[in-house]
Symmetry: C2
């Protein structure tokens, strides 16, 4: 279940953040976007309904939502980051090296590996970062 704009707004006020028109606008765009979007792309969309907003505010709002765990961030080597609504289910990303398309997948099944590594190294493991890189169906066809 995807969080609604209202739910996100209520988290903000509850945490003591002010609910400004700019923040509402950014949240709306994030909630209504299916794909991962860069700050610039989100900015462009937010401007359609809120032309006076500054790119800086988009950056700041995204950082805030990210810190609150409300959106997730994908790093794409060298290029810009991209953000999307944090889904409730644990998942990972599959990134197309050519066009940048991001697909999600769930069930990473790392528990067995994690236990082995933990045993071998003595680390207490608390999280993992997993991402696959490849070429999406479209880019394969095009090639």
């Amino acid at each position: 279940m995807r969080p609604s704009a209202r739910k996100i707004a209520s988290v903000l006020t509850q945490k003591g953040y002010k609910l400004t028109a700019q923040r509402r606008a950014v949240i709306d765009v994030v909630v209504n976007s299916r794909q991962h979007l860069s700050p610039a792309a989100l900015y462009e969309r937010v401007r359609r309904t809120h032309p006076a907003i500054g790119l800086v505010t988009v950056y700041r709002t995204l950082e805030m939502l990210y810190e609150l765990g409300l959106i997730c961030r994908v790093h794409r080597g060298g290029k810009s980051r991209s953000y999307t609504l944090a889904p409730s289910v644990h998942h990972h990303h599959l990134v197309c090296a050519q066009c940048g398309t991001v697909a999600d997948f769930t069930r990473c099944d790392l528990e067995v590996l994690q236990q082995r590594i933990s045993r071998e190294t003595g680390f207490k493991i608390e999280g993992h970062l997993l991402q696959f890189l490849g070429h999406c169906r479209d880019c394969q066809t095009r090639a």
Copy 2:
């Protein structure tokens, strides 16, 4: 087995690249460094023996070595890239969230997962990024 500077140099000449003093200097530093280093860090080291070299040349040489598969590149979200000699064994990292210690591990066993994801998404998967985060033995004891 780590490749030697001589071996790398011979690959360059064989591919038709000129063997300049600057390239030799960069290669020497890369070969003699155990850790992943950023272009700026490598530049600083190369300057010790070759003060007149330009940072641009370091970037160009690293890019060339990377394209030839002689060194590998790690993207660290937002920050600079870092490079290291391409190791013969595929491995991943375990990072301590408290002290930053990095441990290596091999045998990531992602093939089964990779095949499932590939089937489900249509992606042709070419690589993966896997990293565990936790607390090392020392930091656990200290806490």
